[in-house]
Structure formats: C-alpha cells, structure tokens
C-alpha cells in the first residue's frame, strides 16, 4: 500500500463527501431562506424550490457514492455493514457512525417530501425541521472522520458553508417582528 494509484477509490470517496457536504449546505441554506422568507423577489422562490429539491436529490446520490466507493477501497475494507450500520466501522467509529446516521436521516427526511400527502403536510413539516440535525451530524462527521477534517482549508470551507446556515437559521427562528429590525440594524 502507499502508492496513490492504489487509493483512487479512497480519494474519490473523499471528493464526493466534500461535494456532498457543499451541496447539503446549499440545500439547507436555500430551505431555511425560503421558509424564513429571506428571499422575497417575486417568481424566485419557485425556481429556488426546484434548485432546493434538485440539490437535495443530488446530495443523496453523492452520499450514496461517498459510502459506496469505500466498498471498493482495498485498504479500509469497510464491508456493507461498515458503511450502513452506525458505529460498525473500526476506523474512527464515533465520527463515521455519526456520518452513517446523517446519511440515513438525510435519506428519510429528503424522500419524505414525496410521501407528504400520505403522511400529512404537518407531519412532513415537523420532520423537515430536523434537516438541520443532518447538517450538524454531517459537519461533525467531516471534521472528526475526514483525513483532512482538521486541515485549515477544510475548516475554512466548512466555516464558509456553515455561516449562511447560521444566518438563515437565526433569521428563521427569530420572531417576525424582530427579524427585519435585526437585519436592518
């Protein structure tokens, strides 16, 4: 081992994980911005809704690719249980376990949109609020489990992705009468 050519799947998995994190941040930011009515331009929310839905679906695909490519890594050899069961992987079990939980939660919460008529819009909305938990779990996973998780560039990237989410989340949870003043002042 040691030759980079033998670690292609490991690097590909990491790359997909990074892009999944990026797109998850975009999806969460957009969702919060739309629900908090941060974006008010007429006609824009409909287009953003498409982008929110599309980025969520692509994120789910990237998460599947992130885990799936690890199966092909001859060094880690996580096995199907390692990438699907929380805390089953011997490599940094806590942080990889949190990543697995984040993946499953993302799948459940993301796809719940398509059964919202069956489960009821109110239930779906309540479930959808937990998306922020997915982001926090993914963030913890990226910092703790990623081999570059504590690199300056990775921390800077994650901080850059998290900042708009913190802003949109704060704006969303602030009472309606406080939010505009908080923004203008």
């Amino acid at each position: 081992m040691g030759s980079p050519s033998q670690q292609v799947f490991w690097f590909a998995s990491q790359a997909l994980g990074i892009i999944a994190m990026l797109l998850l941040a975009v999806a969460v930011s957009l969702g919060l911005a739309m629900s908090g009515r941060v974006i008010r331009r007429p006609g824009l929310p409909a287009r953003l809704k498409h982008f929110h839905e599309a980025s969520t679906l692509v994120t789910l695909g990237l998460i599947a690719g992130h885990g799936g490519l690890l199966l092909l890594d001859g060094y880690l050899r996580p096995g199907l249980a390692g990438i699907t069961l929380p805390f089953a992987l011997s490599y940094r079990p806590l942080f990889t376990g949190l990543g697995v939980i984040a993946g499953w939660l993302a799948l459940i919460l993301g796809l719940s949109f398509y059964v919202r008529k069956r489960i009821g819009t109110r239930t779906w909305r309540s479930l959808h609020r937990f998306t922020i938990v997915v982001y926090l779990l993914a963030l913890t996973h990226a910092v703790g489990a990623g081999t570059h998780g504590q690199s300056v560039w990775m921390l800077a990237l994650l901080a850059g992705l998290t900042a708009p989410i913190v802003f949109a989340f704060t704006y969303r949870v602030l009472p309606a009468s406080v939010a505009p003043r908080a923004l203008s002042g």
């Binding site: 040691g2 790359a15 498409h50 679906l57 081999t147």
Partner: protein, 88 residues
C-alpha cells in the same frame, strides 16, 4: 376556478421537465466539481509518496555507505498518511 383548473395541469406538466433539467444540471455540476478535490487529494498524495520514497531511498543509501553493502531494499510504506493523519 375554471381558469385555474385549465391552467394547473400544464403548469404541473411543465414543472417536471424543469425539475429534471435542474436536477441534471446540478448532478453534472457536482460531478465536475468533485474532480477538483479529487485531483488535489491525488496530487497531494503523489507528492507525499514521492517525498517518502526519496527519504527512504536516501536513508537506505546512508545505511549502504555505512555498512558497505552493495544493495539495500527500502522498507515498504505501510501506512496511509494524509495531512499528517495516519490511517490504519
């Protein structure tokens, strides 16, 4: 109400292709974007590997000169190091 009933189906029909187009666009963009971290990680590993091999080679040459042996096989690299973190 009648107007709404007559305009809703085309709007719904229009929604799907728009969504598919956006989906395809985001998917292609994401896969293209993934090349950047992949290339950086790969180049970083190549550089580290080259340095490790060179260091091992230099170490081996020192050992060879000291012991006056003609050949020395450098120990293989058995750990995967990335940004200072060694994997199992």
């Amino acid at each position: 109400m009648t107007d709404q009933a007559s305009t809703n189906p085309p709007a719904t029909r229009r929604r799907r292709p728009q969504l598919y187009r956006t989906l395809l666009g985001v998917a292609v963009a994401a896969l293209l974007a993934a090349w950047l971290p992949f290339s950086l990680l790969y180049i970083n590993a190549l550089t580290k590997h080259a340095v490790a091999v060179a260091t091992a080679g230099a170490g081996a040459r020192v050992v060879n000169v000291a012991s006056r042996h003609a050949t020395h096989i450098a120990a293989p690299i058995t750990t995967r190091t990335s940004a200072g973190v060694t994997l199992p």
